[in-house]
């Protein structure tokens, strides 16, 4: 069998099926760490065996069977050493007869769709449990739900492999020792919000590093985040915000090709070549957003998606409906009054009602401390500079650009501000 075919099958079973298998084993064995290690063992075995023996007819069934046997091996090895795992192994022999015992056919079907969906939801909720810190949530979600390997995750986030491996080990230890449950919590909405922020963070990490031409990553976090979000939307068909975030990410991804130039420098929205936007992604985003809004459960992700949709569906920058966008930012600021949202609100107001209205909002924002905690403070200065320029106050604009340049950290942003300053000389 051609190596490429085997490689595709291996990647596919890891990305699309290993999370299901892990979720099922985690529930059956009541041990997430065991399930995770066993699935990793099985994937390693697949990489060893498939190139020789060929891809099995039912790869997920093969993975389940092998992972199950790996888990039993691990429990047996541990059983002699530890009383607690001995008890688990006893339970296991009963469980094996009742639930798994269809021999070594190697082609077990994963059926029973409903419990499977629940298992996967439990697993993703566990990975994003608020008792784990954010870095651990991200790593666990990509590894256990997304089927990425530790080296792949480490390379995508530009952290040393040992650091990431340690992070995963610690998180799994806390899950076990603190008794973090694999369950559907009473406060499902709050916990789904935690999952969405993890998936959005993964997306943003991919979206931002993609523009950095110095960085070569082995997995594309944009694709991973959207794939996981698509799966979550299937698991939670009644949660409008899941679709809201999916639509938002689709709108963003439609501009991936145009948001930076050949040099890797940022291209602002009004300068982008809109004929190169991905119309298929925009069409999908529109459909997903409509589906979300029909459920009449408004939320911050849907609001952001509607805003992104106004931009994506405007055929030229001049067609943008800025007064609608300003209204949406006002609603968004009422729900999530973050400094960046309020800054964007001021920009939209400036576009709709003129630079003076926007500048007045920036002044209010600064005087009332509304920008407290803005870690990208240069954005305030850069925004003010652009508005001052439009108001015909070139000298004040220049001073603001200089302030922005002094506080900007990202090289791409520094280059952008240098270019803006150069146009003023």
């Amino acid at each position: 069998m051609a190596d490429a075919t085997v490689q595709v099958a291996l990647t596919r079973v890891a990305r699309e099926e290993s999370g299901r298998v892990l979720a099922l084993l985690a529930r059956r064995f009541g041990d997430v760490d065991l399930a995770d290690e066993s699935v990793q063992d099985a994937l390693v075995e697949a990489a060893r065996v498939w190139p020789v023996q060929g891809v099995p007819t039912n790869p997920p069934g093969w993975l389940l069977t092998v992972a199950k046997h790996k888990a039993i091996d691990r429990l047996r090895r541990a059983a002699s050493a530890h009383r607690r795992t001995m008890a688990a192994a006893r339970d296991l022999s009963v469980l094996q007869d009742a639930e798994f015992d269809d021999g070594a056919r190697g082609d077990e079907m994963i059926d029973d769709e409903q419990p499977m969906a629940d298992d996967r939801l439990r697993l993703v909720l566990l990975c994003c449990h608020p008792a784990l810190d954010r870095d651990a949530q991200v790593a666990l979600t990509l590894r256990m739900v997304g089927g990425l390997t530790t080296p792949e995750i480490a390379s995508a986030f530009l952290v040393p492999e040992a650091t990431l491996a340690q992070r995963i080990v610690r998180a799994k230890r806390k899950i076990r020792d603190a008794g973090i449950p694999l369950s559907i919590p009473a406060d499902l909405d709050g916990r789904v919000d935690a999952v969405l922020s993890v998936l959005y963070l993964i997306f943003n990490e991919g979206y931002l590093t993609r523009s950095d031409r110095d960085v070569v990553v082995r997995v594309d976090l944009v694709d991973q985040a959207m794939r996981l979000l698509g799966a979550l939307a299937e698991l939670l068909p009644d949660h409008a915000e899941v679709d809201g975030l999916l639509a938002l990410e689709l709108f963003h991804s439609s501009r991936l090709a145009t948001r930076t130039d050949a040099m890797g420098d940022l291209v602002l929205l009004d300068q982008q070549d809109r004929t190169r936007w991905d119309l298929e992604a925009i069409g999908r985003a529109n459909a997903v957003l409509n589906r979300a809004m029909r459920r009449m459960q408004p939320g911050p992700y849907q609001l952001q998606a509607i805003i992104a949709g106004h931009h994506a569906n405007a055929r030229t920058a001049d067609d943008t409906d800025w007064s609608a966008i300003a209204g949406l930012y006002r609603q968004l600021a009422a729900v999530t009054p973050s400094p960046v949202v309020r800054l964007n609100h001021a920009v939209a107001v400036a576009m709709a009602d003129g630079p003076h209205a926007g500048l007045a909002m920036l002044d209010d924002l600064e005087s009332e401390g509304g920008l407290e905690g803005l870690d990208r403070y240069h954005l305030l200065h850069a925004t003010r500079a652009e508005l001052l320029l439009r108001a015909g106050r070139a000298d004040d604009a220049k001073r603001a650009f200089v302030l922005a340049r002094a506080t900007a950290l990202a090289p791409a942003e520094q280059r952008h501000l240098d270019r803006r300053l150069a146009t003023l000389d």
């Binding site: 449990h129 008792a131 020792d177 603190a178 008794g179 973090i180 449950p181 369950s183 919590p185």
Partner: protein
Amino acid sequence: MEYMILINADENYEAPAPGTPEFEAMMAPWMAFNQRLIDDGHWIAGANLQPTPTATTVHKRGDAGHTMTDGPYAESKEQMGGFYLVRAADLDEAIELALAIPMPFASIEVRPVAFRPDAS
């Protein structure tokens, strides 16, 4: 599982004097919460502690012997003021109990018990 719930809060507040209606009003939610823990089978132990000036910390230094300091282990804006030792199915249930503690402002640490010699 069993969880230790450690309640940290600012101890510098004026509590109403025992016997006053204000005192009764302050205590009522605590009595209700304690009763709930007992009724639902969560209760193992719990106590309100004397304020930190009564604390003594003993630092054991191996072969170098030990020293003793006047006060709690860590000085901070909030002090450990009490604890519960509870039975709970998992961390989520323990956190639910911690959130039900009738104090509007507190930092509450929830930690699983590893081993307890008198556990049945």
